[in-house]
């Protein structure tokens, strides 16, 4: 039996639409069901002209002078090409947010550091030690969890942009609210701006 072309086209189109709806439902459910953590942001760059209004975010945590980079995390950011295999990164509470405390190639290995683990890549630039002439400089611990942009309307993006100048001076008042699913994938839930939650709504 051969289907008429119109029916074939309708069937393919219906499957494609159902697939996209299924993706949205699945991702929304995973985002709601995951464990919520707040992660530090170092830089906030507003909007790409061709991609709609969004805020490009970079998850970074300062590493204080005198502290070492977490175990298992690459300490040569200059050698990072972005094509390294994914790791499992362990996250643990650090004040009002969470921070990476170690990483491993296997999930079980990362769980040794902390009970909450996420898939991604991490690099760490070690802090400059204090000398007689200077007090040293803090290092940075950067996370690439596939969470790099937050879509918002134009007014919201402009409001976030105003706070981004503060980020450049050091302490950033913007943090990412991320959901860690059972599959270990990070999904962005929203931003925390000056303590206020801006969470993505589905409606």
């Amino acid at each position: 039996m051969t289907l008429r072309p119109a029916l074939r086209i309708a069937a393919v189109a219906a499957l494609a639409v159902l697939g996209l709806i299924g993706l949205v439902v699945w991702e929304s459910w995973q985002r709601a069901a995951g464990t919520e953590v707040v992660l530090s942001i170092a830089t906030v760059d507003p909007r790409g002209l061709l991609s709609g209004d969004y805020v490009a975010i970079s998850l970074q945590e300062p590493v204080a002078v005198g502290r070492a980079c977490p175990p298992g995390i690459d300490t040569d950011p200059a050698a990072v090409t972005g094509k390294e295999p994914e790791q499992w990164i362990a996250l643990a509470p650090a004040g009002d947010h969470a921070a990476a405390v170690g990483a491993a190639g296997e999930r079980a290995g990362a769980l040794r550091f902390a009970p909450l683990v996420v898939r991604g890549r991490a690099t760490c630039a070690a802090p400059t030690p204090a000398t007689a002439d200077s007090g040293g400089a803090p290092g940075t611990l950067a996370l690439d969890l596939g969470v790099d942009r937050f879509y918002a309307d134009q007014a919201e993006v402009q409001r976030i942009n105003e706070t981004s100048t503060i980020c450049q001076s050091g302490s950033c008042p913007v943090a990412a609210i991320v959901s860690i699913g059972r599959d270990g994938k990070a999904r962005l839930k929203g931003l925390r701006i000056n303590g206020q939650r801006v969470v993505l709504s589905s409606f």
Partner: protein, 355 residues
Amino acid sequence: MPSYKDRVAKDLDGWIAAGLAPESSRAPILASIPEGGRLDAAAAMAWVGAVLLGLAVMALIAANWDLLPRLAQFALVLGVFGAFAGAAAWCAERARPNLANGLLTVAALAFASAVGLTGQIFDITGNERVALYLSGVVAAALALAGRSSGAMVLALAFIGLGDDWRDGWNGQAALVEVPWLAVAAPAAAALALRWRSTALAHAAAIAVVAEALWLAAKLRFDAAAFLAGAVALAVLAIGARWLARRREDRLGGVFYGWFVWGAFAAFIAAGIDLTTHRLGVLHRIVWLAAAGGALALGRNDRHTPVTAAGVLGLIGAVSVLMLDLGVNLLTAAAVFFVAAAVALVAGLILRRRAT
């Protein structure tokens, strides 16, 4: 502009006047030539109006996009895709294949946009490669469902992009697990032959050439890899030539031209100083000979792209050889003298065989 039928009618009048064809054959000959489809002025204006209306609607939606709730945005994105696919199904049902082809092509583009916009609307981050493959698979499915060459061309483009062209051409970049264009391009070539689609034949041939070059660059990025690519494309060109000549298949001619160009591209790339190992003057001499061969073959087959490849190949080979030999004009003269002698002898042999 006179149509093909108008030109034949004019030629026929001349042949009848010269006594080469009987007057009685004029009407049956002209009746055997179908009227070419022409877009009259009213239909052209209707198309322009429809396009402008579409642009106006798009601008209106874009201006108010932020005001729409997320679910409304999602429904709109899916609705646009569904509308084009539905219109294509309607046209396919009413035996309007060209319109259905065009609408399926737009539907495939609309779906690719829908994938990107859905990620934006609901802040779903994911692998861009997966999004491109998904767009390619849906475009291919739409093409197969409605026999749309345009949607299949888009499928090739999406799958090719998904194979991660952004990694650059240096072999140090990680190769994707499966370069799916290596599967999709031959399949599209087979479909082009089955559907008798010239547009798809061009796209499939370009995809095969691009894939051969890309694999050579990604796998090894050295002279041997590009030489292997050149040989593979030359073999494909021989097959396509057989199709074009023995079976008088015009699509075979399309593949023939592209594969010859591809073989030259791969061969020339092999001669660039990619590694410490250089192919040297031997590469230039083979290049010269191959270009001469392509020129002769193109003239013999009355195939303009192959002839053009030969001409440009000759110019390129001579230029590079001069560059290689520097100011040593005596050596250059010797090489060109030997090449000229070989060409003349080959020409004489061909002439004797022909007579």
